[in-house]
Symmetry: C2
Subunit: 147 residues, 2 copies
């Protein structure tokens, strides 16, 4: 089941790739329904905050008409950065599923882990390694082609 949702996030990552954006995709699910889908749009929109996860949070808030996404889960192909991890915690998302980890800027276990329970009131559970090979491959291929 988790693989099926991560595959939807991967489709989003592919949309980013076609725009020559770093291929990262994220979706938000509530009660089995996908309420938001987004992909990285930083270069296209020239907006430093236009990461897949942050756009997904904004879209889900709009779709559900609430800033509280307490019954929601996020699937993201790459470990979130500091900003996106903060947005996930602020919006009260209850569980985060990660495809592959990001040793360079991940904030869910790589550089630091802001989801550990000693910092924030809201606790978001994290599970990693969902379709890890596929989520990693699309990024590796993207950067290989850039060289």
């Amino acid at each position: 089941m988790h693989e099926r949702y991560m595959a939807v996030a991967l489709e989003e990552a592919k949309k980013a790739e076609k725009l020559d954006e770093v291929p990262v995709g994220a979706i938000i699910v509530r009660d089995g329904i996908v309420v938001a889908k987004a992909h990285n749009m930083r270069e296209t929109t020239r907006d430093a905050t236009a990461h897949a996860e942050l756009i997904a949070v904004r879209k889900a808030c709009e779709a559900l008409d609430s800033w509280r996404l307490a019954d929601c889960e996020m699937y993201v192909t790459l470990e979130p950065c500091l900003m996106c991890s903060g947005a996930i915690i602020l919006s009260r998302i209850k569980k985060l599923y990660i495809g592959t980890m990001d040793p360079k800027s991940g904030a869910a276990g790589s550089l630091l882990n802001v989801f550990e329970d000693y910092w924030f009131h809201h606790k978001c559970e994290v599970e990693q390694g969902i379709l890890a090979n596929e989520c990693s491959k699309i990024l590796k291929d993207f950067f290989k082609n850039k060289r």
Copy 2:
């Protein structure tokens, strides 16, 4: 000079207060010119990401047509949270001036300090205590009236 810019951020915080939003304001300055002004809009927009700093970053990116705000400085009335600190680092803002600190959720020295140089490539300098009393008072008055 810093007090003058922080006073503009405080004017933004007052706009938030009038909307019954937690009164926080932020502005972004480049070469002495204010390129973006924003205030907290979380309740009004029902968007978990609608903090003053994040909106200011998005507005500055739009105004300057670039996601890189390398020559910019931010003035914010309250210490940024994790998400906003991440947005400040991602957008390459070179200096951050803070009014008052936030012991509950600040990520620039209170709960943690993500601006310390060992985590991220980009280094944003931080200075705190600009109009600290005024920036603190508007928050205290707001929460006092809430009770």
